[in-house]
Subunit: 345 residues, 2 copies
């Protein structure tokens, strides 16, 4: 299996190194062979090749069996003509990674860290399914002058259908409760979204569907996070709501994500940013990257056993208190990684 | 002073009746005379005149010295050809109510109700300044077919300038810290927004300015709500973030808002909805409507003394434990109102 490794910027390279060490240890005794090849991306792409998404990188991603991405961006490239984020958007579009899956869980051991009261947040376990290749992120026309600017939020019905089907399928494998988030009292795109959800719902009679306005959903994620099972929404709302939801566990350092295309390759990355302030200090929490790697094992390679083992090892080390700074501990990135690998063997 | 009273739907009429009784008691001994005239609006407008914003209502609002609005909407009108919400958007646009001001405070007495841990939320006191008459809510063109839908997010620079100036002025009267929220890494409108904020910031050198992406702001509102003083943002982001922030006090029943036009009339309303499930039961919390009325006294009529008295009476009653159901008490809407009026005399 060829894995394209885009370590990126900031803490990206550190947490990627940790995840690959864990992957190698975890897959040592399986028959499948993994090859990990690094490619420049984001700020690192600008530095190496003058472009956040160099040709070589996009080509390698297209040919890979899966992609691991660390994190990108940083003040160094804020004034670049093409910023690291542009590379990320371009990569999503080029690979047609339309389905971004962000599981939000709050393990009991993290309850003390959550900003939310324990009685409210305990047991939180839901998935945000975000449309990732359309909407206002990519809609044309757009324009920017000194006098006026505009963006276009555009959705074709087939773009809504495929992400909604994906969400229904995920819901079928869980608690079978889907919340579709829109702003159908204001937006034309949301009206089409809601109509499409209602039509497709008939194909999944075992799943219950509820519609929420995005402003109401933004409230409920904080007020009643345990009521959600699967949330499906369009690109911009998904950006905002999944980031909001990511604060529930009290640290971003534990949340992975997966992005799937219709037929081809998938990309796995933490949902947090590149944290330039703590980069290169060996203090970043690699759990989000390690769990992104286990999502890869499950969703791209059907290797649930190895994924289970790695996750169990991770949680065991966390429960023993060998935790990084963001979790209130003193373990360095490499120490935590060593401990996980030791547990695995 | 002519006050146009739009009680609206659901709990609107009950909380409006309460606020007007309190207003009358509070202004009994001042020389200014207030006249309160009710007009149909929202679902009530559809029922009375076949339109959520009847001509008579819009005309009365244009001629009034201030407008009090209860709440609108409900399942009864969900299938109406023109829904109650359309009337609200049309009213905002017709009166040019471009500046929506939503103060978010968490009084110590509400800390037990907040979903957020006390150590994090204690002392929260900020204002969301939301642009209310432009952006994707009103941008043209927009289209909806079976195959595709689109909306246009459009901002003219003068629309950004006036709301940003308003926010700077509000910040000058507070802690002088302004956070401008955008998505400038993706949207053309946000790039113009950020550029405009930076230009106007030079006119207000005493105010410090920080830019945040909307996804980051959605996180920080929960993680570090006490770090905010004034937030300024565009229409859709303001909708989502101000609703998210409204959960901090643990009940929506205490949060007022004001919407200002460039020269003319202002509108005052609670930020919550019409709560059809508890309508007509005399259990709704009228504090949000009473505080909206005190905002009117302050911002439209410079009657800070009366406003202070009413607010003090409200908080005194709250602290004595005469509170409605949403606050964990047993007081009926009318009992709470009686208690406030008694305190005033
Ligand atoms: C970096 C940015 C363009 C990106 C987005 O808005 O999609 C990020 O916030 C994310 O959620 O992956
Ligand atoms: C009812 C709806 C159109 C409205 C809005 O989105 O502006 C409401 O949510 C609000 O915030 O006042």
């Amino acid at each position: 299996k060829n894995i394209a490794v885009l370590a990126g910027d900031g803490i990206g390279p550190e947490i990627m190194a940790s995840a690959i060490r864990v992957l190698k240890a975890g897959t040592k005794s399986v028959s499948t062979e993994f090859e990990y090849v690094e490619y420049p991306f984001g700020g690192a792409g600008i530095d190496a090749a003058g472009d956040p998404l160099p040709d070589e990188t996009i080509q390698a991603c297209q040919e890979a069996d899966a992609i691991l991405l660390g994190a990108i961006g940083g003040p160094k490239w804020d004034q670049a003509p093409k910023r690291p984020e542009q590379g990320l958007l371009q990569l999503r579009k080029a690979l047609n990674l339309y389905a971004n899956i962000r599981p939000i869980t709050v393990p009991d051991s993290l309850l003390p860290l959550s900003p939310i009261k324990e009685a409210i947040v305990k047991g939180t376990d839901f998935v945000v399914v975000r449309e990732l290749t359309s909407g206002i992120y990519f809609g044309e026309p757009r324009s920017l002058t000194d006098e006026e600017a505009y963006d276009t939020n555009r959705y074709q019905v087939h773009e809504i259908e495929r992400i909604v089907r994906k969400a229904f399928e995920i819901a079928q494998g869980r608690q079978k409760r889907l919340v579709s988030v829109d702003k159908a009292n204001v937006l034309a795109t949301s009206k089409l979204w809601r109509k499409t959800v209602e039509r497709i719902a008939k194909e999944y009679p075992d799943v219950t569907v509820e519609h929420q306005y995005v402003d109401a959903a933004a409230m409920l994620i904080v007020q009643k996070p345990t009521t959600f099972d699967v949330i499906v929404t369009e690109n911009l709302f998904g950006d905002i709501l999944s980031d909001e939801a990511s604060v529930l566990p009290g640290t971003l350092g534990v949340l992975p994500s997966a992005s799937h295309s219709e037929s081809g390759v998938s990309l796995y990355e933490p949902i947090h940013g590149s944290a330039p302030d703590i980069a290169g200090k060996n203090v970043a929490n690699p759990v989000s990257m390690i769990l992104s790697a286990t999502l890869m094992l499950r969703q791209s390679f059907n290797m649930d056993d190895v994924a289970d083992q790695i996750e169990e090892a991770c949680y065991a080390v966390l429960n023993e208190g060998t935790v990084t700074r963001d979790l209130g501990g003193t373990a360095m990135t490499s120490e935590f990684t060593d401990a996980v690998i030791e547990k695995l063997s």
